[in-house]
């Protein structure tokens, strides 16, 4: 997979995650509540798991973006030093 494609896919995942957890509860609280009321389990348990997963996805996807970028910079630096 190309570098740009990887970064784009990870950015879309991060954006979707942040939109769901940041924009939805702030600007559309009813929609946010409705998402959790659709499922049969208690809302608090659902929300807890959703928050844990959301945080993990946000941290992992953003770290992966930084990791890929850093690896790319490191490679180009090593090539420059080797020259």
């Amino acid at each position: 997979m190309r570098l740009l494609t990887k970064i784009t896919v990870l950015s879309i995942i991060l954006l979707a995650d942040l939109l769901f957890f940041s924009v939805l509860p702030t600007f559309f609280p009813e929609t946010f509540e409705a998402v959790f009321q659709m499922t049969p389990w208690p809302d608090d348990v659902e929300k807890t798991f959703a928050i844990f997963f959301g945080l993990a996805i946000a941290v992992l996807s953003s770290s992966a973006i930084v990791y890929i970028s850093v690896q790319h910079i490191r490679k180009s630096l090593q090539q420059r030093v080797a020259k």
Binding site: V59, S63, V66, L77
Partner: protein, 190 residues
Amino acid sequence: MAEKKPPEKAKVPLKEYYEKVRTESREALLRTVPSIVLYVVAAVLVWLFGRLVFLPIAEGIEWYGYPLPQILNFIILATLAVLVLRVLVDVRRAVGAAAGIAACEIGAPYDVSPEEVGHYKTAFRGIVYVIVVSLAFMLFADYLADIHPGLSAVVLIVVVVWAIYQIWSSVRAISEEIKRYSSEWAKKIR
């Protein structure tokens, strides 16, 4: 019967030592700096996502009787601690490498001793550690205050005392180097 003399330790020529320190330092710096950047950015992101996105929506939610913000606070704090520890390990390596390069660049060409490198290491380490730990404290302060308001203050006092000790040992290492340079300079004047 003449006693056998113990074999003399093979002295490493100055030029060879200089080249070795220079090459190893450059390689170590290239290896460690990207991972420091990665871990620092990850720590800042964990802090940002936690404080601005996930802690506000966790307000008022209880998980089997425990308040979710406090559980989340603890998880974020543990993650930050792991990331900061990793940063400190890499910073230690990077500082060692930077000290090697500094000793090669600042000193006279090919005149680098292990003692000089050690002094630069102590000086650099002290200064960089104080900066890194102060920045790390800023990441931790809010989360520590959320657990207990006094906890942040206690940690701050410990950090200040430790920073004073680190700066003092850095200054002592730098003064050793200044003393060495000035005595060499005095010898040349005579």
